[in-house]
Amino acid sequence: MIETNEVMKTYETLSGRITALDQANISIKDGEFVLIVGRSGSGKSTLLSILGGLTRPSSGKVMLNGKDLWAMNDEDLSEVRGSELGFVFQFPGLLPTLNTLENVMLPTMFCSKVEEDPSERATILLQTVGLGDKLDSFPNQLSGGELKRAAIARSLMNNPSIILADEPTGDLDVNTEKEIMDMFCRINKLGKTVVMVTHNQDLACFASRVLSMERGIVSEEEGQKCERI
């Protein structure tokens, strides 16, 4: 369960103050697949990073599974990021020095909630996303889609309850995009909350709920219906 209360984020720039997020009040229930749609610069990524404990809001409150995220100290906040949240970005963000298996295992180094053997769990996750034969490959040996799938496997490593995805399909071709979206749907079906930010309206049909953003203001989109591609 994610709830925000009057969350604001403003940036001071040379040309004056910019309001990236204006009094956002949203509530996301457990197990929802929420898509946040908006043009570039609408503040959707800022919202996601505040929900994920990566950027401190200028004011307001974020409650994540009953905990006031921004009232915590760095230790506790890092713990929440590591154990309750999984992140997928547009860029895959795999470390070039580690192979696929090690990359997926990396989160356990910072925080270890899962009791399974890290290497076994990482192997199973990689097999699930179809990279069972690429365990020893290094990021520079993987394709764009494969990198994204490895990043998804990594986000699941510590078995988080919420997956936050920022334009995960932004740089992919249509087929790979569908493949990745299907993967998020499967993750959602496992009971995990998925919050995804995108500029692509067409992805709305994958989500259970769609929020739209414009100039820092969040609003609920009603009656979005579409057929799965």
Binding site: S78, L98, M105, M109
Partner: protein
């Protein structure tokens, strides 16, 4: 592999930045190497001077004024020479207040001994008056030196105890070998003056190049002071009583050796200082650049749950590893250089050298290494702090550009 270990994680990160690593490691290696060489040389030299003077066993060495530097050379580097002085000086010295005992010695530079290619310093001592070699004899042999017996300095070890050794056609027998001092004493041969005179007389007939040495001819007078006597005062009094002589004290020798060593040690410390001054800010700057370049990576760690402390520690650990590897390389090269080039250094600088005890060497090494590693940590402190403090999302985004 069940889990990615912290060590593996650090190693993989280090492996990627080979240019920075090599530069950092080399810097620390050069600093440690030059500081350690300077400190080994300084310690080894003063240790050697101490040992040499103790072996001579005299407070003062009085030599003819014009041969003062020859006498210095005999003691410091073992460069042999022959010179003589007037025996009457002895009586003058004995009258100087503060002088307890005097003993004459005669220095003869051999052309070539059977053991060695280069000339050796023969030191003939008077067995009745001597107080320098005799105590050693009592302690080590339990008896005085007998006819035609010699004691060898440590470096003339081609010949063992009990074996014959020939000087100027005269056969001697090795009675003992002295402990190493690193000074010229190691290259000297001690004989009784009565035997030396016989040898000189025979040399006219048997030797390729005979030596001139007559009874009563001496080269130097060793002086032992009364307990509590002031070395400076007595030296001045001797100079006044016998204007033809020069007084050599251990202080004088130490000063001379220091002067010979000063420019080399100075250059070494200067190198270390310059390298430190130039490189440390450079390393700090490079580390800061590297942290900037690694912002996304650091942001990703934070995203995956890494605490500020983890990021700070990991970056500091990388710097410490580099500093330690550098310091170790520096230590090994410094030790190798001083060991391999020991003779080259001491002969070309004209200094005596004797390795200080292992404990002293280890202590020096420990301090130099510790300081270097601290320096390494210092250079990484700011970048590591900056990295730990940066906003995770900002870092990830900055890397995206």
């Amino acid at each position: 592999m069940a889990k990615l270990s912290y060590g593996q994680f650090l190693w993989r990160n280090l492996k990627r930045r080979s240019f920075r690593n090599v530069a950092t490691v080399l810097t620390f290696a050069v600093v440690v190497c030059s500081v350690l060489i300077a400190s080994f040389l300084t310690e080894g030299t003063s240790n050697s001077t101490r040992a040499g003077m103790t072996r001579l066993g005299a407070d003062l060495l009085v030599v003819p004024q014009e041969y003062a530097s020859n006498a210095d050379a005999i003691i410091i580097t073992g460069k042999p020479s022959t010179f003589f002085m007037n025996t009457t000086e002895m009586t003058k010295l004995q009258a100087v207040p503060g002088v307890q005992r005097v003993a004459p010695q005669t220095f003869i530079a051999t052309l070539s001994a059977s053991c060695c290619a280069l000339p050796t310093q023969l030191i003939a001592f008077n067995s009745t008056m001597d107080f320098t070699v005799t105590p050693w004899l009592d302690q080590e042999l339990g008896r005085p030196l007998e006819k035609d017996e010699v004691i060898l300095g440590y470096q003339i070890k081609g010949t063992d105890v009990g074996q014959p050794i020939i000087f100027y056609g005269h056969q001697f027998k090795v009675a003992g070998i002295l402990q190493p001092t690193g000074t010229g004493v190691d290259q000297s041969v001690f004989v009784r003056d009565s035997d030396a005179i016989v040898m000189a007389r025979e040399s006219v007939k048997v030797a390729w190049q005979p030596i001139e040495m007559n009874p009563g001819q001496i080269s130097a007078i060793l002086v032992q002071l009364e307990p509590g006597a002031d070395v400076q005062q007595v030296s001045a009094d001797i100079a006044a009583a016998a204007p033809e002589v020069s007084v050599i004290t251990s202080n004088h020798l130490a000063r001379k050796i220091d002067a010979q060593l000063a420019s080399t040690v100075g250059a070494l410390y200067l190198t270390a200082g310059a390298v430190t001054l130039i490189s440390l800010p450079l390393i700090a700057t490079v580390s800061t650049l590297v942290v900037n370049e690694r912002r996304r990576e650091i942001g990703l760690y934070r995203m995956m749950g890494a605490k500020k402390g983890f990021v700070f520690n990991a970056l500091l650990a990388e710097a410490l590893i580099l500093a330690m590897v550098g310091a170790l390389i520096g230590l090994v090269s410094a030790a190798a250089i001083v060991i391999i080039f020991n003779n080259t250094i001491t002969v070309s600088l004209g200094i005596p050298f004797l390795w200080p005890g292992l404990d002293a060497v280890l202590l020096q090494t420990w301090w130099v290494m510790l300081l270097t590693v601290l320096l390494g940590a210092l250079s990484a402190l700011y970048p590591a702090m900056m990295a730990a403090r940066s906003d995770p999302y900002e870092s990830i985004r900055a890397g995206q550009k």
